[in-house]
């Protein structure tokens, strides 16, 4: 845990952080609004005291109530991974500015997040499906997409002795209702 990094981030981004800076193990986590992504990332990358040169990962997350895009960054200036969460995108129309201007390598990762979650990355010039066929219409990693043979939620749910149902703690009413019904 790099306490110094926390102070630097708080001083630098101040009111742009939508939540407290969280730290656990070797990770530091900040939350920002989706519209702030390009600006904050640019500063993280360009500022020589932060110098986050490497985009380690880009992931979409469906929390059940809203969508997130989670970026992991690496810098030689800190022993921590920096996790930037672009939080609070509505599930029916998740939009976030693309990072391809800063890291062109984000292009395929954004395509993957689009393919799996339907998150629109504005500015990505090649935002088409990458794994699923082009005529596919669903977003498989969303929480309301159930597996056909998911024993936990099937009527014969007793197959799984560990847990009768898997209820996401942050799920929407719709998700929970469907889960319990099944």
């Amino acid at each position: 845990m790099d306490r110094q990094l926390r102070k630097r981030l708080e001083a630098r981004f101040g009111e742009r952080l939508t939540g407290p800076v969280r730290q656990r193990h070797d990770q530091t986590e900040i939350r920002i609004a989706p519209s702030d992504v390009p600006e904050v990332m640019r500063e993280l990358h360009d500022d020589p005291t932060l110098d986050f040169q490497l985009l380690a990962d880009l992931a979409g997350v469906d929390t059940g109530t809203h969508m997130q895009v989670v970026y992991h960054l690496w810098s030689a200036t800190t022993p921590d991974w920096l996790r930037v969460i672009a939080d609070g995108m509505p599930r029916d129309d998740p939009r976030v500015p693309s990072l391809t201007g800063l890291w062109p390598g984000a292009e395929w990762m954004e395509r993957e997040a689009y393919d799996m979650f339907g998150i629109i990355f504005e500015g990505n010039r090649d935002l088409r499906r990458i794994y699923m066929p082009p005529d596919y219409t669903s977003f498989p990693l969303r929480k309301d997409f159930y597996l056909a043979d998911d024993a936990a939620r099937s009527p014969g749910g007793g197959v799984r002795h560990m847990e009768q149902t898997h209820v996401p703690t942050q799920a929407t009413d719709r998700v929970v209702r469907r889960t319990v019904k099944a």
């Binding site: 656990r24 193990h25 070797d26 990770q27 986590e29 040169q53 490497l54 985009l55 380690a56 990962d57 992931a59 997350v61 469906d62 989670v70 992991h72 690496w74 030689a76 022993p79 991974w81 996790r83 800063l102 890291w103 062109p104 390598g105 984000a106 292009e107 395929w108 990762m109 993957e112 799996m116 010039r125 090649d126 935002l127 088409r128 499906r129 990458i130 794994y131 699923m132 066929p133 082009p134 498989p140 990693l141 997409f145 597996l147 998911d150 936990a152 560990m162 847990e163 898997h166 209820v167 996401p168 703690t169 942050q170």
Partner: protein, 412 residues
Amino acid sequence: MTAQHTPTHQHPSADDPRILLDDSIGQFEAIPPYPPRTEREAEFYTLGDGEMFINMGPQHPSTHGVLRVVLKINGEQVVDLDPVLGYLHRGVEKLCENADYHHINSQVDPLEYISSLFCEWSPVMAFEHLLDVEVPRRAEYIRVLTGELNRVLSHALFMGWMALDLGGLTPILWSFIERDEIAEMLASITGQRLLFNYFRIGGVNGDINHEFMSRLGDWMTRASAQHEANTQLLNENEIFVRRMRDLGRLDRETALRMAVTGPNLRATGTPYDVRRAHPYSVYPELEFDVPTRGHNGGDCLDRYLLRVDEVKQSLRIIDQCLHNMPDGPVMAKLPRLLRPRPGRAFAAVEGPRGMYATYAISDGTDQPFRMRIHDPSFIALQLVPLLMKDNLVADTMAVMASLDPIMGGVDK
């Protein structure tokens, strides 16, 4: 081939009653049968003067899996290319979100089937972060030892495959000798030759045994000599060296911007190795160098030579592991049913192809709420269109082989 796409029912044999044409199956058209959806697709699927499309794959024997590449060529020159992924996609992230923490090991194993210990390592590490488990030191040493053996195995195959993609048959036979010895060695402790399924949350499945040690000792006595002999086959081969030199150049800045990691990044002169840049396991206690290359400007030869250097470092690490291996348990004491408290964890390891990383979210149940797997091959494959500009069609395979992608991991 023309720019307009020809509907499949206009096939010349369509009116021949003896020939059954199933339109629903369709033919393999290079041009997608729908209007372009993105700027890039429109740009790619518009032909300029003298250009044409050809399809490479998806059953091309040397694409390291099932990959389809649409090449836009002008004569012998590649103007642009569009990799089409998804032929091996099995939705492993979804499977992991519907499996409990112990099952995930076997789900992630076949991702990069050549280096499956690394595919297990990063999820297992992420879950250990979630659970706040401390792994016994002996288990960590065994992980490093087997991991480095797996790296040598993977790089041995890389050399063989690379030569095979360029048309040389001998190196693959040699590297399979090397690969087989290590596979047998690992099979004696893991029980498997390919998908080891050996790491567990909190340790490893079993302690090292006599058979493993005797095989390892036997192999270590001649490993470096054999490695030298294997590499001499290619390093001093003029055809190979001339073909690889100056091909597919990648500079440092572009590599970082393209989010490339692993040997492909180090071959541009950037000493980024997760084992040193963000130390995990017992790597801080071990002595090894992070080799870099790049005096030729990060070309295919650099990427090849870098992996040769890495094998030497791996042998050093294996040697130290054997000497420093502490006694003790190989598993932490953990309940059968794991329910990490809600939280998020990220863990990355340095695999033979770059950084394998896992981002896991726990919601307090016995299954991860979200599990993201970051695969280095996926990122490396993204480089191919960039590196292939204005090269010859025949060099596509050479460039791709030098990046060493494994489609199992790319397609997840």
